[in-house]
């Protein structure tokens, strides 16, 4: 487990650049690393959720129509 974190961390440090940004608040290194890794995952989950809901709606509509017909 520790190795996995080390790997993640090294990866992120490797990605660092010297370009400047300004903020009056210290964002915290851990928070930036977390966002860099998980932002992508969160976005992917969000996209998948949209497709999943579309998929669910598609079937709900079909079954919904059948139900009405049955009535």
């Amino acid at each position: 487990m520790k190795k996995l974190f080390l790997l993640f961390f090294s990866l992120i440090v490797f990605m660092l650049t010297t370009s400047k940004s300004f903020a009056y608040l210290d964002p915290g290194t851990g928070s930036i690393i977390l966002q860099a890794i998980l932002g992508f995952i969160a976005a992917s989950i969000a996209t998948l959720t949209i497709y999943w809901n579309k998929f669910k709606n598609f079937f709900t509509k079909i079954f919904g129509k059948k139900d009405k017909k049955n009535k």
Binding site: M15, T18, L25, G30, Q35, F40, A43, A46
Partner: protein, 459 residues
């Protein structure tokens, strides 16, 4: 012109008070930040959609100090009573957190962003949360990270998780630590089972892990990444936390006073008498802002509102009662803000130079105070001399009602059952004498068989 001692962290502007109004000077640096917001009507839109406090640019002439060309003065709507996150119940902090996230998502939609995520930037007007810091808004730059993420976790998310998962009230901890609850501390408290939740695993366990590894690392951390944070990811992160917070519920411990309104020692006629007494007093006065000490679930606060008082701020040391009162205020849309206050240990000044956040006394500027079935909780339960208790209550407002609970009352008898009666000073005569030291007694009404009395005073 008095500058607010809490608005110094951001160099872009300062809050000041003049003639009972609230203003903000925007410095040259802040004007630069606001330019984009003004050009795109972001401030107007945010105010119109009830996210941001009402604010308008006013003439620079209102202040004597000469301002440079780019400096602007804004006037903000005055918040009736400034409250702090450690005075809120779970649902209030949750409502503030959701307001913050919803506002952030709204801003991203219109091309703006927030530079921080401080819970002190949210205030309540009645039961409604509102964002008060205009200078937290800026233009959204493609690829930027959520700078306030860590602050959001400490100010909002961690206290909510603590109470929701462990049943530990966050208030006193938050009060002792200006910035809320550290992720490291929360991580140490949560169990393995708690961390199996996807959001807790990420926002507490992983965040702490990354923080700790970065502290140990000797490599210099640079403030930006080549790899940008996509807007899609930004949205997803905010929405994920928002949905998680929506799902959180407080783990409640049963407290003594939460059922007080159902299980008190009054019989029905006595309660009617008390209600009549309060109604009569409120109706003959036109109060702007009333303080209800020991408000419990808000019975007398709402009565005061119904009888013509404009705003009520209630205080109680029973946090579950505050939770119930807030939910009721929200449901019925009352201009009633209930807050947690232990009167024997009220909020003090905290933060830099002991003046960043104000004390209860600094903020307690009310037209009227109701202290019904309240004084004995200080004088008998906490051994605070009756004379000091009355002086303290009367100092809060020029007019008010104070209930005297005699020793033969059932509640007091129960309080003294184990402790024994060591309070020789606690008599009706002394009660009246101590009121007279600070104010005039206008009326005195007997409301129960046991001899409870309500005194109307004016100072």
């Amino acid at each position: 012109m008095i500058f607010d001692k809490g608005s110094f962290r951001d160099q872009a502007g300062k809050i000041f008070y003049l003639n009972n109004k609230v203003y903000r000077i925007i410095t040259n640096e802040g004007s630069e930040r606001l330019k984009f917001l003004e050009e795109n009507q972001i401030i107007e839109k945010s105010i119109k959609d009830n996210y941001l406090i009402k604010s308008k640019v006013v003439s620079n002439n209102i202040i004597n100090e000469s301002l440079s060309k780019n400096e602007i003065v804004y006037e903000h709507e005055k918040i009736p009573y400034i409250s702090y996150p450690y005075e809120w119940s779970f649902s209030q902090l949750k409502a503030a957190a959701l307001h913050h996230l919803e506002f952030h998502l709204y801003l991203l939609d219109i091309g703006a962003n927030l530079i921080d995520a401080s819970a002190y930037n949210i205030q309540f007007i009645g039961n409604k949360p509102i964002f008060i810091d205009l200078l937290s808004l800026k233009k959204y730059e493609e690829g930027e990270y959520w700078i306030g993420h860590k602050q959001f976790c400490e100010n909002f998310l961690n206290p909510l998780i603590l109470q929701s998962k462990k049943g530990v009230y966050f208030n006193n901890w938050f009060k002792g630590n200006l910035e809320g609850i550290k992720t490291e501390d929360l991580n140490n408290i949560l169990s393995f089972k708690d961390k199996l939740s996807y959001n807790i695993f990420i926002q507490v366990y992983l965040l702490n892990k990354f923080d700790q590894s970065s502290k140990k690392s000797t490599k210099k951390f640079k403030s930006d990444f080549k790899k940008k944070f996509s807007k899609k990811s930004f949205y997803a992160l905010l929405r994920q936390i928002k949905n998680f917070i929506k799902s959180l519920k407080p783990k409640k411990n049963k407290t003594i006073w939460e059922d007080y309104s159902q299980n008190n020692t009054y019989d029905q006629n006595e309660e009617i008498k008390k209600i009549e007494c309060v109604s009569e007093f409120i109706s003959k006065n036109k109060f702007q802002i009333l303080c209800d000490l020991g408000c419990n679930n808000g019975l007398y606060s709402t009565l005061a509102l119904e009888k013509g008082t404009k705003k009520v701020v209630g205080f109680d040391y029973d946090i579950n009662a505050i939770e119930e009162a807030y939910n009721m205020s929200k449901r019925k849309n009352y201009n009633f803000l209930p807050l947690y206050l232990d009167a024997s240990n009220p909020s003090t000044r905290i933060g830099w130079n002991e003046s960043e956040r104000k004390s209860f006394k600094d903020r307690a500027k009310f037209d009227c105070v109701l202290a019904l079935a309240f004084e004995h909780h200080l004088s008998l339960a906490k051994n605070i001399p009756l004379e000091e208790v009355l002086e303290w209550i009367i100092s809060i407002a020029p007019k008010g009602l104070i209930e005297f609970v005699p020793k033969n009352d059932q509640t007091v008898q129960k309080m003294l059952e184990i402790k024994g009666d060591i309070f020789h000073d606690y008599t009706e005569e002394n009660f009246e004498k101590y009121i007279r030291k600070n104010a005039k007694i206008i009326t005195k009404k007997n409301i129960t068989k046991s001899g409870r009395k309500i005194y109307e005073y004016e100072r």
